[in-house]
């Protein structure tokens, strides 16, 4: 297999390019300093700040693999943050470890229920994922606002703050959290047959059912996973700000997560997915965000850059651009590749028709 053909080649190349550009523009970008036995610097910040997006994108990868999408992750984050911080704020001793653990457990449980709700709509009622999760996306923030009584709940709680701001052996806790979660998810998907069955369900749900695959369980499970991961992301996010801001927590994160998944090479059409690709995708998105800030652009204007990135990514993946690249010499007049077979936009290098007669 050539290096160029490997499915992680382009995602990695994009990330590497981004880092190189940053380092050339400002050598301090890659500088890491040691303070009190902990590491600091841009790369470390990126690893730390990637955590919420990483968890959300991981859940999104699983959902997308089943041919779905979960738009509600940002709202679930808001709910989870609101639940945990409200519990802590209402407790007599916000600093106690027991309260924090209870708060986190409750928040994750609520997120699990929300994920299960999405999964129910999609896998049992058979509602289109984009629409099913739109319901919660719309209503979720309203629920979060009701939980916090419309205000931004702020708390002081050392153990809770530790989640996002603390350090373990040299590096931030948040970094270890996402590494652990990625490892667990990758292990479950690839060491068991869950990954293959998920891909089967994503590529052809009906054929999978007829092959005896319990697609309902697999799809439902993906949404539950996405909910739980978004819940944890919501906790990390709330721990970072120590405030339950239901309007802004996880705002647009569903879109960044989808972008990260696509950057990592997983097709939105479902089926084949790559966890390593998503990790690279998330790091790319976070690095890009930092880069934009580094160049002195107000954060509010950064969406313009992301728009450009989205356009570039989709163009690179588009079959039409592939065709331009492949055959500048030979033109297939008039209409595009989609016209012949009506096949979905699978960016494959195989010809449209390939009936090899036996």
């Amino acid at each position: 297999m050539t290096l160029l053909k490997h499915h992680l080649f382009w995602p990695s190349a994009a990330l590497a390019t981004l880092v190189v550009v940053n380092v050339i523009a400002n050598p301090n970008f890659a500088k890491i300093t040691m303070r009190d036995g902990d590491l600091y610097g841009n790369p470390v910040t990126i690893l730390r700040e990637s955590a919420p997006l990483m968890l959300v994108a991981l859940g999104m990868t699983l959902v997308i693999a089943t041919r779905g999408i979960d738009l509600s992750v940002g709202a679930v984050m808001a709910v989870s943050g609101a639940v945990s911080l409200t519990i802590i704020a209402d407790a007599p001793d916000p600093g106690s470890l027991g309260i924090v653990v209870t708060a986190i457990a409750t928040a994750v449980l609520v997120a699990l229920v929300l994920g299960a709700w999405n999964g129910f709509l999609v896998s049992v009622l058979g509602i289109q994922p984009i629409i099913a999760t739109l319901v919660l996306m719309l209503a979720g923030r309203g629920v979060a606002l009701l939980i916090t009584g419309g205000a931004i709940t702020t708390v002081t709680s050392a153990p809770y703050k530790f989640i996002s701001n603390g350090y373990l052996i040299l590096l931030p806790v948040a970094f270890f959290i996402w590494v652990a979660v990625v490892a667990v998810v990758a292990l479950i998907e690839r060491r068991t047959a869950l990954g293959m069955l998920t891909e089967a369900v994503g590529i052809n749900p009906e054929a999978s059912r007829l092959a005896g695959v319990r697609s309902r369980g697999i799809i439902w499970g993906a949404y539950i996973a996405s909910g739980v991961l978004a819940g944890v992301a919501g906790i990390i996010n709330a721990s970072n700000t120590m405030a339950a801001d239901s309007n802004n927590a996880g705002y647009l994160i569903e879109l960044y997560a989808i972008l990260a998944v696509v950057l990592g090479g997983t097709s939105l059409m479902g089926g084949k997915f790559s966890i390593a690709g998503t990790v690279i995708g998330v790091l790319t998105v976070t690095t890009l965000d930092k880069t934009i800030q580094f160049f002195g652009v107000p954060p509010a204007q950064s969406p313009v850059f992301f728009a450009v990135v989205v356009v570039i990514v989709v163009l690179v993946q588009s079959p039409r651009v592939h065709q331009w690249g492949r055959s500048l010499s030979r033109r297939r007049s008039g209409h595009g590749p989609g016209d012949a077979g009506g096949e979905p936009a699978a960016a494959s290098a195989t010809p449209t028709r390939q009936e090899v007669s036996a």
């Binding site: 629409i131 319901v135 719309l138 309203g142 969406p303 989709v314």
Partner: protein, 338 residues
């Protein structure tokens, strides 16, 4: 296997029902929306006593004129089976762009076309990505969303007041009919609805929109101009975004880059509640107008009650769910037929 046969002589009531259901089953969700709207209005009147006043009802349209314009554009897109997430930020972008141009003294007859063109340009970008580069509408319009929002902030990070006479005239003028009134913004919104309804029902372009939503492949094989139509629906949606930016600027007397955050969801909810199938192929512009009225009524009821505004989204979410489940049941039933 049996085909619906229409008996020519003396159709009975039963026959009429059958003919109606064979011809117009897709109107049912819209009828349901009308029923819900009526129940909401009657319920609100019973509860508050003064809800059905001409004043209050006139305000419904006035307050949601921009939403109605966006819903018309969104209906075109959704009927083709697409989606446009960019409308809220396009509205913000064109609004702030127009306000900023007015503030720097550009004459209004230049500003308004520029606002509309700005919306149409983003729509064109989305349409071209969708049609010529096989990008999923969801993703392409996501790029549009990012672009619109970012550009809005590029124009200005804070709000810009508008003191231009013709723009404010759009909002402040009240044409009175008894106790009822309508503003030019309301007239524009209704005109857009009317134009949208005629285009969808009575032009080849409109029928091609439905054809694409039914099956793009078939539409292409039938020789319809699929590519042009698919780009155009996003252009129309972008244009509606630009127009909504104008209406909202007139309404609030200012451009603000944070306008319309999450509005795309409200618009999609209105369109779906109005009976348009998110999978495409079925839907009505007039239905979307009903959907906007449902949304507006719920909004107003909640402010009447003095309850948290967040309830609006919870209730709209619940209504959306209800309609989605109903649509799902309808689709499942028609699937079984084949």
């Amino acid at each position: 296997m049996s085909a619906t046969v229409v008996d020519a002589p003396a159709p009975t009531a039963m026959d009429r029902v059958r003919t109606f259901s064979a011809r117009r089953a897709s109107v049912l969700p819209t009828l349901a929306a009308i029923v819900i709207l009526v129940i909401l209005l009657i319920g609100a009147q019973a509860e508050f006593g003064n809800f059905l006043s001409p004043r209050n009802l006139s305000a419904l349209l006035l307050d949601h004129a921009y939403l109605m314009v966006l819903a018309v554009g969104m209906t075109f897109v959704i009927v083709t089976g697409g989606i446009d997430l960019s409308v809220g930020s396009v509205m913000a972008f064109t609004g702030i762009l127009g306000s900023s141009m007015l503030a720097s003294g550009t004459p209004v007859w230049i500003v308004i076309p520029v606002m509309l063109a700005g919306g149409a340009a983003i729509g064109t970008l989305i349409g071209v990505l969708v049609q010529y580069f096989n990008v999923q509408p969801f993703i392409a319009s996501l790029a549009g969303l990012f672009l619109g929002r970012g550009l809005a902030y590029v124009v200005s990070l804070s709000s810009i007041r508008v003191e231009n006479e013709p723009i404010l005239w759009l909002q402040q003028t009240r044409f009175l009919i008894g106790d009822w009134y309508i503003t030019p913004t309301g007239i524009i919104a209704l005109a857009v609805v009317a134009a949208g309804a005629v285009i969808m029902a009575l032009t080849r372009f409109g029928r091609t929109v439905y054809a694409i939503g039914g099956s793009e492949q078939s539409a292409r094989l039938m020789g319809l101009s699929v590519a042009r139509t698919k780009v155009l629906v996003y252009v129309i949606s972008g244009l509606c975004g630009g127009l909504a930016g104008l209406l909202l600027t007139a309404y609030s007397g200012a451009g603000y880059p944070r306008n319309g955050i999450g509005t795309e969801l409200d618009v999609i909810a209105c369109v779906v509640i109005g009976g348009t199938l998110l999978t495409g192929g079925r839907g009505y512009v007039l239905g979307s107008m009903i959907g906007v009225f449902v949304f507006a009524t719920i909004n107003t009821i909640i402010s009447f009650m003095g309850a948290e505004q967040s309830w609006t989204h919870i209730i709209i979410g619940a209504l959306l769910l209800l309609f989605i489940v109903v649509q799902r049941a309808i689709v499942a039933r028609s699937d079984r037929r084949t």
